[in-house]
Amino acid sequence: MTATIDPRRAPPVRVTTRDDRAHVTLRALVPYAIAGVILGIILVKSEVVYWSRIQEMFRFQSFHMYGVLGSAFATAFLSMQLLTRRAARARTGETVKLAAKELGTGRRYWIGGSVFGVGWALCGACPGPLFALMGSGVTVYAVTAMAALGGTWTYGALRPRLPH
């Protein structure tokens, strides 16, 4: 069967690559969990997980979120330049590399991004902060997390029929 690829349709699901194989054991997951703990503390202490902070941002009432996102971007950009120039290697051996996001028609980014923006403004949490909020004791965010999983699952089911 030959399939002609319609660029508006969903691109094929990405296949697992060789470099992912190092992470099958629980032990290999420990560094990510530790990184997560540190990140969770930062997210809560800087208040970026809170609904009111997100509201301030969308209302242009406070510089805080823009400062966090801007300086996070700058730090990430500069360190990426450094890692790329030095051809730094990951702990697992291969040269560090960020996979390019396929642009395609760009529609998935326009549509998906704006739908995500609506959800973010309503519930005040994107996927990472959702978990930080649950941990910090705002337990009702467990419902938001279930709803977010429902949303992701619905996307997966509808994926072949959505423009990409």
């Binding site: 697992t92 403004a121 419902v143």
Partner: protein, 166 residues
């Protein structure tokens, strides 16, 4: 020291620290900093059914992201217990509490908001961290589009939709 840590952290401390997670995760195992793929991996683990999007080797390419978000939850717990500060004004209980869940505005914010965030993040292939930090830092046009769209959706919702329901 502990008292200083208990204060809300300013943006110029938190932002650079968050940005460092991009090189950190690359150096740990060549992973792109982001949290959205954890949702896909959890779906794949518990309810893949016959949906193609979830029939991938989540243990190999998604489990690290589940470990990251489990860590984030633990970090949130530690931050609230060991270094507490008053956050009651930051998450209004009139919208985000179990009792508010039964009200229209609570249900819309908590349930509809969560659903759209999960749907949109998966559709757009990333969220604030994946596109806004990692994607932009590697100068990807796709991420720039996503960030513009995210802010457009958020601003329209905040200015025009939320006043109707709050």
């Amino acid at each position: 020291m502990l008292q200083w840590l208990s204060q809300p952290w300013p943006w110029y401390v938190a932002g650079p620290l968050i940005g460092l997670f991009v090189p950190l995760l690359l150096l740990i195992g060549n992973k792109p900093f982001g949290a959205t793929s954890s949702l896909r991996a959890i779906c794949a683990a518990v309810a893949a059914r016959d949906v193609e999007f979830f029939n991938y080797d989540w243990k190999r390419s998604g489990a690290w992201n589940i470990a990251l978000v489990v860590g984030i939850a633990a970090g949130g717990f530690i931050a609230a217990r060991v270094l507490p500060h008053d956050t009651s004004a930051l998450v209004p209980a009139s919208i985000f509490s179990w009792s508010a869940l039964l009200s229209a505005r609570g249900a819309i914010c908590i349930v509809v908001g969560g659903f759209l965030a999960g749907f949109g993040a998966a559709y757009g292939g990333g969220c604030t961290s994946g596109h806004g930090v990692t994607g932009l830092a590697s100068l990807q046009l796709a991420s720039l589009i996503a960030v513009i769209a995210i802010f457009a959706g958020g601003i329209v919702t905040t200015w025009f939709l939320l006043p109707l329901i709050l």
